[in-house]
Amino acid sequence: MTLNRRTFLGTSAVAAATLAAPMVRAQGKPRVVVIGGGAGGATAARYIAKDSKGDIDVKLIEPTRTYYTCFFSNLYLGGFKTIDEIGHSYGGLAAAGVNVVHDWAVGVDRDTKTVTLAGGGTLQYDKLILSPGIDFVDMAVPGWDISAQNAMPHAYKAGSQTELLKAQLKAMPEGGTFAMVAPPNPYRCPPGPYERVSMVAHYLKLNNPTAKIIVADPKPKFSKMALFQEGWNNHYEGMVDWVGEDFGGGNVTVDPAAMTVSIDGEETKVDVANVIPAMKAGRIADIAGVTDGNWAPVNAADMSTKADPDVYVLGDASQQGDMPKSGFSANSQAKVCANAVRGALTGSKVFPAKFSNTCWSLIETNDGVKVGATYEATAEKIAKVDGFISKTGESADVRKATYEESEGWYAGITADMFGAKA
């Protein structure tokens, strides 16, 4: 590969920044602003601060003081984790040198390179990293909008929504009906809705064994489908009714006031309705003007946006190619991005992009499964090059080890995002 346009531009940008530095920088340090303190943003902020050893000013904008991971939030629904076990503070990031600002980012001006905060402040950046996660597409499920999220929770951003769904699950009458409206592709965490079905089934089997679960799905198939269906048959026989695209699962309307869900014209009165609508990039990506349609297209080599080489988008909000939208993916992308951003701002070495992802799912106690892959940056996208998936019919020992591995991973990734717990 010869020196290409992108590399050349990157180098000149460093030179230009050096020249301009005395005029625009109060402290003389390059400034990185990260918006969103989840798997992408927290990891990127921590790695840039840690690895630049104080040479880069890193600010992380995150409204909440406790971050509840979406990954493992299904295990809270199933009773395998407490809500506190999936909550994390930002203390470790501050210790790593990140300036954590608890506020909402409400504006981005790419011409003046500034971010406006709801609290009124304005932040200058040399590089801006957006990791805002997802928002929902308006009217994606007829009858549901965000004002209905208390009657029919999505619980697809972890925290109070997850607790609400758990409370509704607990309050179900004997023999009641739990309905899920599953999202269309692409969405956060491809196996997530189906792990949730498994965890809800686990809870109901113990506490309300005559209850039913109905899933309306606009898709004809989903990730780890054979593994989930095997598990549902083995552990929760007769409890789960999955209605896929072929049977009208995509033709759904809901009425939050009447608590009804209508699938392909057939109306059902339900006790809990978990509506997971179609998704799009978190709103700040739209405000920054780096989206094209629902997502923000990025360059695979460093996660910079196609719209602006100084603005990067990580994780669920990005449109990068083959990686699923997952916490693991966001964390993996963040490290590639952090390395590239640090290189551009300080001239540190920039190494080739490498990406990986694994999604573990729990089906029943000690019955864990996983799917994973590695990826490379091509000129067009992040491309899948290799992977693996759990097999149907695996022994109980293998499944138990897979679950234990997922717990180890959870401890690992949260320490990688937020710094090790003291």
Binding site: M1, L3, N4, T7, F8, G10, T11, V14, T18, N185, P186, K221, S223, A301, D322, M323, P324, K325, N331, K335, N339, G343, A344, T346, G347, S348, K349, V350, F351, P352, K354, S356, N357, T358, K370, V371, G372, A373, T374, E376, T378, E380, A383, K384, V385, D386, G387, F388, I389, E404, E405, S406, E407, W409, A411, G412, I413, A415, D416, A420
Partner: protein, 232 residues
């Protein structure tokens, strides 16, 4: 000094190993003209004298319900043949080499690059790994034994630290040992032996076989050097 560092960064980028040619979808679409008489693909495709090719990747040979396959294809499917980029490449070079006595009277695509283009075109109409992570790959992996410009970085602890980001997603940098073993302070020689054993699949674990399988010798050495001294 900064200019020099920036130059080095640019040089490292410029020396990125190239991926195997991913294939040109547009060229593949033109090549597909010769298949169209019998096979449909894309929205609304149906079976004709040949089966439709939507969802082909990962499908068992003769695996489509509602199509009457020849005995030869049925035998191939029962024998475990599945359609992936690798098997399609062999099949498309000369269909007669893989199956005999089928209705597929196509002589094959002899040019390997053309087959790559054609396979890239076909791949678009099967599951997207972004939605179904276990779906077939869309590119071929590269050997991460790096070229000389990057080999100059051998033993660079900074490189080991960068690469370690892939490890610390699961293996805690602080050395926790529940569910996933600790890899900090692992003696260097043992680390190298273990990674090579995963790489050659002598040591069992699908995640580690996948991760180590894509690490070059120098990368393993750099990681071993990094982890041997990693303190909390």
């Amino acid at each position: 000094m900064r200019a020099l560092a920036a130059y080095l960064a640019a040089a490292a980028l410029a020396a990125l190993p190239a991926l195997a040619d991913p294939g040109d979808v547009e060229k593949g679409e033109k090549l597909f003209q010769q298949c169209k008489g019998c096979h449909q693909i894309g929205a609304g495709a149906t079976n004709r004298s040949g089966p439709h090719l939507n969802g082909l990747f990962g499908r068992k040979a003769a695996g489509l319900d509602g199509f009457r396959y020849s005995k030869s294809f049925q035998r191939a499917g029962a024998g475990g043949l599945e359609w992936h980029a690798e098997t399609l490449d062999v099949f498309l070079e000369n269909p007669r080499a893989m199956t005999s006595g089928t209705r597929m009277s196509f002589r094959g695509v002899k040019n390997p690059e053309d087959r790559t283009h054609l396979i890239a075109f076909l791949r678009q109409y099967s599951d997207d790994p972004a939605n179904i992570p276990e779906a077939d790959p869309t590119a071929q992996g590269i050997d991460h034994d790096l070229d000389p410009a990057i080999l100059a970085l051998v033993g660079d602890p900074e490189y080991g630290e960068y690469l370690s980001g892939e490890c610390t997603t699961c293996h805690q940098a602080a050395g926790g040992d529940d569910g996933i073993p600790s890899i900090t302070l692992w003696p260097e020689d043992q680390f190298v032996v273990a990674m090579h054993a995963y790489k050659s699949k002598q040591r069992n674990h699908p995640v580690m076989q996948m991760i180590a399988g894509r690490l070059g010798d120098e990368e393993i050495a750099a990681l071993a050097a990094y982890f041997k001294d990693l303190e909390n």
